[in-house]
Symmetry: C2
Subunit: 124 residues, 2 copies
DNA sequence: AGGTTGCATCAATGAACGTCAATACAAGCT
DNA sequence: AGCTTGTATTGACGTTCATTGATGCAACCT
């Protein structure tokens, strides 16, 4: 259940020095844009927020997410899939229910990418 | 030239405590989503990066941006407009040329929103 | 005034997106 | 085996979006 994710904001490869450090090249921009696009929908942002509010290691059952929206269950499932494909969250089925959590570090890495120029020497 | 911008990540109102602090309500999510959606396109991300690379107070002429893409001039103009409407950048005409810059603090506020739970008392 | 350059707006088109009803799949229960 | 509940996938539909050529506007230069 944790396949087909992006590696842009990946653990190892820091992807790039930061938005303000130097102009992004085509590939970097394309990969990063997928992540921001995933966050560029009100429903997905709320889903992310609901999941992230559980903190590190926290999980949320889909059965808790769906009733928070006035949308059909397939629609919520679709948005969760997009967030997962963007490498922001992951999920696991336990019995009848499926639980989602925020991949550790993604939000921090995204934040770091946006803020300071973060010049060279980041791997140490 | 600085009208019709969003105030989500506004200077004063911190909008909300952060993505992970508490579940976003409908309005917060809708406003924030516009900003992320603006960044959710490869061309716009590169544009932002090119402009932000100039640093605080830095500017870029459109005539420097357009030739960096294999896109028509109206397309670039359109993307710049979207970034401006998202409250990320602003512009000014000086003579024949138009210069764009990143609105001060926006990226840092966006980053702060993404990362730590940032509980209350942020204005100091 | 006329011509030229830089940038924005308009109108049209094809692609991508959000949504849903219907359906399929997985797991527990009887 | 059947039924029921929770979740994902499929197919279709209307809307939004990215892109372009044509056009308009602003400023500089003879």
């Amino acid at each position: 259940m944790s396949n087909q994710e992006l590696e842009v904001i990946g653990q190892d490869a820091a992807c790039c020095a930061g938005l303000s450090a130097a102009p992004l090249d085509d590939d970097q921009a394309a990969e990063l844009a997928k992540v921001f696009k995933a966050l560029g929908d009100p429903v997905r942002l709320r889903l992310m927020s609901m999941i992230a509010s559980r903190g590190e290691g926290g999980e949320v059952c889909v059965c808790e997410l769906t009733p928070a929206f006035e949308l059909s269950q397939p629609t919520i499932s679709h948005h969760l899939k997009l967030l997962r494909q963007a490498g922001l969250i992951d999920c696991e089925r336990r019995g009848t229910w499926v639980y989602y959590w925020v991949l550790p570090g993604v939000l921090d890495r995204l934040a770091a990418f946006l803020s300071a120029p973060q010049s060279a020497g980041a791997s140490a």
